[in-house]
Structures are given as structure tokens and as C-alpha cells.
Amino acid sequence: MNLTFYNKSITGILTILPANEVKFEDEMESYNFSVAKSLKLKMAMGYNKHRIAEDGVTISDLCIYGLNHLFENKLLKKDEIDSLILVTQSPEYFMPPTSNIIQGKLGLKHDMICMDINQGCAGFEIGLFQAFMLLEQEEISKVVLLNADLLSQKVSKRDRNSNPLIGDGASITIVEKSLKPNTIFANIKMDGTAFDALIIPAGGFKNPSTPETAEMLEDASGNFRSLDNLVMRGDDVFNFVQREVPPMIEDLLARARFNKQEVDFYMFHQPNKFMLNKLADKLEVPREKMPSNIVENFGNASGVSIPTAITYNLGKRLRDESFVICMAGFGVGLTWASLLVTLENLTFSEIIEY
């Protein structure tokens, strides 16, 4: 599905990462793999270290910490916020929405819309699409998009398919009506027939958590996980990404009448270095234009990975410079989405630690 948005802009991006850093070497004894093979895995996939929140930390802690940072530094005013969108797979409760909890704890005005969206790897794009649509309303001028996940709590430490790549984190993106006319091209596709390619099988209403679902079981590859843990069919996800993402990007650029060279950066979701390098090669764009350094430095925090890639690789340059960015998210759902946007004159673009 093709989408087009007019006269909207991103005016600030803040990434909030837990200060706690865990190294690959400190966990590899749990992987039921020889040391030599674990180190080969590390090299090939670009694993190195990841940020893991301390026990007891919730997504609202990260989001509130980041929002207070913006309020205290006069980068955002509470009464300007007309909508709070939270994209997460780590809600604090089944009910109420965590965005309402954040609104209440911060004392934001009542005259606003809060909403939670359950999405993951394409959660930054989906959050932006929702923000752009809300901004069509006369009374909505500024939307705060929160992406936050703490999926390390749902991944088995003995699962080398998922544990080395996962990271925790949050991001805050300010989306506003643009004073300058512009067009944002985007597209999105979904395939719910493959819903179980990335899934936490137990814990919802379909299959509630019980002592049985918490039992650790060994899979055919020697990984140990329970039904309460996240499970990913890595081969299927890899093949899906390689099959669907390149044509999606080709279509997006053709519709926007951009050639690949005119795009300054391809800021894609960050599952692992190998997958991103293969996408860059397939699209025939230089690997340095498609940063793949988030998993190795921070881990993949789902919908937070693209804002992290932007703030880590471009940072303060976005306050003075202008870049054409092609974003793409792909994964759980299955969902794949992309958009082409110019980022310039951001009020803030940085990473802070919680």
C-alpha cells in the first residue's frame, strides 16, 4: 500500500538507552556452542555488546526520563503535546494503555489523545504514519511518538538465535506540521499468515502463562527457551527480508522520482550486520550509506533501532545539515514498511543514558 503525507516534519529525536552494557563474551557460555563457534557467530552477525535494562525498569521509566530531559532543557513544553503515541511490545499492563500512564505521571493536559500501538520492527514507520494522520486534525499541532521495548526480559539467555542481538531502549520523536511545503512518500505491506515467525507464544489470552509454559525446552539446534520466551524462525525472517525489502525500496524511490544516489542514508531496522550488508549489496548502495553498527554497540531494541541508528550516526549534524533519509522497518507481523523523508534543522538529535 502506497502512502503519501504532505507538510509534516520530524523536528527532534532523542534515544534513551539503559546504561547497563552486557558483552557477548560474558554470555556465550550459555549458548550451548563451542567458544570458537560462538566467536565466529559474533564476527559474522556483528554481535558485540548490548544494552540491557536493570530488573524493575519499565518502558514508562525510560520514556518519562527522556521526556523530563526535554522539558528540563527547554526542548519541549508539556502543554504543546497534543498526542502521545507509544509503539511497544512491552506494555506495563494489558490494560490500561501505558501511554495513559505516562501522560498521568507527567501531568500532561487532558485535552489530548494517547494511544498504544502493538508493533515491533516496523514500529517507527507505523508510529510516524499515525502521527502524520493525526496532524491532519486542526487541533493537533505536535505529536510525541514514543518507541520503547524491553524485550530482553522475554528472551531466553540460552537462545543464541535471539539473545545476542536483542537490546532494550526507548526513543522520543517529535512530529509536527511543517511550515515548509513537503511531500513524504511511504509504503507498507503485511502478511499475517506468517504471524508465528516472530512470536512470544504464551502470556496472552490465547495461551496464558502457567508453570508448564515456563518450562525450558531444547530445540533442534540446542537452544533452550520456554513458551514464555520470544522465539524467532531466523531463516524464514532472513529470507522474507531479502525477498520483500529490496523491491519495496525500489518502488518507493521510483514513486518519489529519486535515484539511489540522491539518498544520503538508508537508515534501516538493525537485526544484524550480515542481513544489512546483504540488503545494501542487493540494492547496490554503498554499505557506508546503510549503517549497520547498532546491534554491535547497543543491540536491537525493535522499533527503537532506526531512531538509534539516526541519533548515533548523524547526531548533532542534524541540527545544521540536511539529509535525505530512506527508512525501512521489517519483521514481526510480518510487517514491512518504508518512507523517504528529509531530516533537517532538528531541535535535538542525541542519545542519553538512563
Binding site: K37, K40, L41, M43, A44, M45, R160, S221, G234, D235, F238, N239, V241, Q242, R243, F274, M275, K278, L279, D281, K282
Partner: protein
Amino acid sequence: MKKQIINILQEIRPEFDFSQEINFIDEGMLDSFDIVSLVTTLDEFYGISIDGMDIIPDNFATIDSIRNLLITKGVKE
């Protein structure tokens, strides 16, 4: 090229004999992470980039299937 492929496989999984004419996947000699290591090594060794769509077990099941894949990428015998 066959000898080079066997040497590369032998480095990845030294405990197995890759000169045998058997299916490496069915026999459990290569798993998905081995295939990632193999692709990375073949890319570097031959100066190519194996297409992501070609990274399926069938293309790495035997010496001949790996050789055929490399030939489609322009690697000469």
C-alpha cells in the same frame, strides 16, 4: 575450485570430512550459522556478494551446489 571450497568448509567445521559426496545439511554438518560464516568467507575469498535470496540450504548442501552457485556469480573454475 572444489579444493578451495573443501578447505573453506574444513576451516568452518574442522570436525567433519567435506570431501565425502553427502548432503552436508541433512547430515547435520552445516547449520544456519555455518552457512552465514560460509557466505561471509566465500564473499571475501572470491570478491563477490552472494545474493541474499540465494542463501538457502539447498545451495550449500554439496560441493557441487556451492560450486554452481559460485559459477552463477561469475567465479571461474
